[in-house]
Symmetry: C2
Subunit: 216 residues, 2 copies
């Protein structure tokens, strides 16, 4: 069966997946972009998002590349899709990624407010799910055709799926920075009791990559 | 001037420096010993504490060995010295380490209850300080003769010195385990605002070693 996976999810040394005071100018929160320095520099990211040449190879790039392996669908929290809050005022906001988002598969967006599916160039269709995390996972699994489903975030959404023990595997990238405040991935969640264990660590100058799985 | 340093201080992936429910049987808290697996296996630890031959060499051992470099004094929270709470009933408890503790320098123990200094074999003298963390540091600095002062813990004591910005350098060893609950080194402390930064990371199968310093 397809797995629900979190990959290339960046956190700080003190466990924050986003900085405080998120806004349209600061979608990752104050200093939050520092968490992502490792991936922004990779050959994979520059090729996928920037259309640029070059970039780091090595373990950071390998983790970035493998984060797209065998994906049949994505799930995103609403804030990952955009800054719009409350009912959708119109169909104008179509995500952060322009006309051709880098997903190329169905993407299920968690929201409290219904909206028609939105088909983009390159095979990405955004589906808006109002029935909660289990419904989103069920629909993503149907759409994924046996491939894996990647949970993109944000922190609050990952925490919800963790609490429900629905995540099979995670790759966390711990950036060598302190954020001090923000959204914690660990506070108030007993990862051990939920059955998660770390199966490997790889460190580069820009991140420590942790491989984590749920024991059966 | 001598520095106040924290070295070989082990925490979990989720930031706990000790497990929950500490007791005489479980002085590190439930599952807390898992944090220390990296150091227990080193040649340095086995030679210092166990009088045993052998043990791991490599980065874990190097960090263990360097954790004793250039030390002129130690500071310990009371729970690091022993399980006795409240006024000292008698002079019977002399620490966890037997007749010849592995310090070989003056050790300042934070306590609310006065007690006469306790001279042990091998150069260790325990001094009991009732005037708080700044007094302990002042006395340790006088005793250290220009060498560094190592703050041994526990978590609550490290948090107090951090809040006061009195720690110059830390070496944290992040064990690849989740504790889920326990004493957090990060919750409610803004390391970034306090001026701490990570200057290096080294990973072995048993720990990720973080070098951290306070910016001036």
């Amino acid at each position: 069966m397809s797995k629900l996976v979190v990959r290339a999810f960046s956190i700080s040394l003190d466990g924050y997946g986003a900085g405080p005071d998120q806004s349209l100018d600061d979608p990752m929160g104050v200093n939050g972009m520092e968490l992502h320095a490792w991936v922004l520099a990779t050959k994979t990211f520059r090729g996928t998002h920037g259309g640029e040449e070059g970039g780091d190879e090595g373990p950071d790039d390998e983790f970035a590349r493998k984060s797209f392996d065998n994906l049949g669908a994505w799930i995103l929290g609403r804030n990952m899709f955009g800054p719009v809050r409350g009912p959708w005022p119109d169909g104008e906001w179509k995500g952060w990624w322009g006309e051709e988002p880098p997903y190329h598969v169905p993407v299920f967006v968690l929201t409290h407010h219904a909206r028609e599916p939105l088909a983009m160039k390159g095979g990405t269709t955004f589906h808006f799910v109002t029935g909660g995390i289990e419904e989103a996972l069920k629909r993503a699994r149907e759409a994924a055709g046996g491939k894996d489903i990647r949970l993109g975030g944000g922190v609050a959404t990952v925490r919800e799926y963790l609490h429900a023990r629905l995540i099979d595997e995670l790759h966390l990238a711990v950036a060598p920075v302190f954020l001090g405040r923000g959204e914690s991935l660990f506070a108030g969640i007993d990862w051990r009791e939920l059955g998660y264990e770390c199966t490997g660590s790889v460190t580069t100058p820009k991140a420590t990559h942790l491989s984590i799985r749920r024991k059966d």
